[in-house]
Symmetry: C3
Subunit: 158 residues, 3 copies
Amino acid sequence: MPLYIIEHPAALLNMKQKEKVCKEITRIHCDVTGALPSFVNVVFHTTDDNVEFVNNKLRHKSRIVGNIRADRSAAEKESLINQINDAWFTIVGERCHLVALNEVKSENAAEDGILLPAAGQEFEWLAKHMETFEKRAEKGEETSQDLLADLKAMQSKI
Amino acid sequence: MPLYIIEHPAALLNMKQKEKVCKEITRIHCDVTGALPSFVNVVFHTTDDNVEFVNNKLRHKSRIVGNIRADRSAAEKESLINQINDAWFTIVGERCHLVALNEVKSENAAEDGILLPAAGQEFEWLAKHMETFEKRAEKGEETSQDLLADLKAMQSKI
Amino acid sequence: MPLYIIEHPAALLNMKQKEKVCKEITRIHCDVTGALPSFVNVVFHTTDDNVEFVNNKLRHKSRIVGNIRADRSAAEKESLINQINDAWFTIVGERCHLVALNEVKSENAAEDGILLPAAGQEFEWLAKHMETFEKRAEKGEETSQDLLADLKAMQSKI
C-alpha cells in the first residue's frame, strides 16, 4: 500500500507515458504522505474489452483509484487528487475522467505477510520488523531489499 | 460518479441487453438520488478468463458493484439495490448473484479534475464551476457539453 | 459475500493450487466468522496484461482483496489476514504481496436479490427468507440448494 489502479484505453498511453505517470504518482504520494517509495504500487490495466457508458452513451474513459491507508487528512487527500490530476493531464494530454481514493483501515491490510501500522506508527513498526526485513533482504527478497535501500537513502538526508 | 461496474460471463448479455441494463441503472440512480445522468458511469466487464468459485464449486456468476458518493440514506440505498436487482432480472432472465454499493466520500473523488461536492451541496458546486463547464463545452469536451444539456433539460421541467 | 478477489500472474498458480487456495480461504473465512461456505465467493483473475510497478520498478505481484461484511472485530480481521497469508505461502511457495479486507456495510449488499443481514442477525434473516430459499431450491437454483445443504450439515452437528 498504497495501490494505485489505473484503468485506461490501451491506445491512450504508451510505455514511456506509463513510466512517467507511475513516477509522478509515486513521487506525489511520498511527498504528501511521507511514505517510502518501496511501498508504492502502481498498476495499469487496459479496458478495451469493456463496454463502457457515460450518460447512456458509449464512452471509453480513464479512471484512477488509489487504495490508501485511512486517516489521511482532508488537505492531504485533496492534494493527492489535484496533483495526480495535473500530472496525468500533462503527461497524457487529456483529463482523467475519475480519480478516487479508497481508504483502507491499516488494521485491514498486510504487505508481504506483515500487518500494516496505523498512520503515525510507521517508525515503531519499522523498528519492530527490522530484523525480519534484514533476513528477507539477505535471502534475496526484492521488496525487503528495496525497503532497506529506502531507509538508507532517508538516513543519508538527515 | 457514480461508477457502476458489472462483471459477467460474456454469453450472458448481448449488446442490446447491456444498453438496457445501462439505461435502467442510469434511470434508477437518478430517480433515487437526484443525480444528473451525465454523471452516471456504467462499465461492463466480462469474466470468462477468471476462475471463479462459490462454495468451493466452479461457478460463474454476475456481480454489480456501484461506487456511489457516501451519505445516502439507508432507504435510498435499499431502493437502489432492489430496483437494480429487479431490472437485471427482467432484462437478463436470471438473478444477479451479488449487488453491492461501495461508498466513496465526496472529498475523496474528482471528476474531470474537479473535486466532487458533498451530498446536498450540488447546486453551490455547479454555480461555482459553471464558467469552467461552459468554457470546456465550447472547446468540445463532451462531458461538459452533456452536463450543460442535462441542466437545460432540468430547467425546462421547472 | 464474502467475495475474495485474487489477482495473480498466470504462471504462478495452476488449477490445483487455485482449488487449494479457494478451499483454504473458504475454510478460514467460515472458521473465523461463522459464515456458511455456500456464501463464500473466490475469484482468480490473471494480471499478465497489466503493466505493474512497485517502487517505480516493473514488478508483477499477487494481491488478495477480501470484500467482507463490516463490523467484524479487529481480532477476527487479523486472524483472517494472517491465516490467509500462511495458507497462500504454503500452497504457492511465495508471499502474497498484498492482502486487504474491504468492509461492506451489510445494508449495502444483496445476494441473489436478497439484502444481507447485519452481523449477528443471520438466524433471523435465514428464518425470514427460508420459504424463499426452499422455493428457489425446488426450482433448481444452485445457490439456494447449497444453502439448504449447509444448514442441514450444520444441524446434524448440533
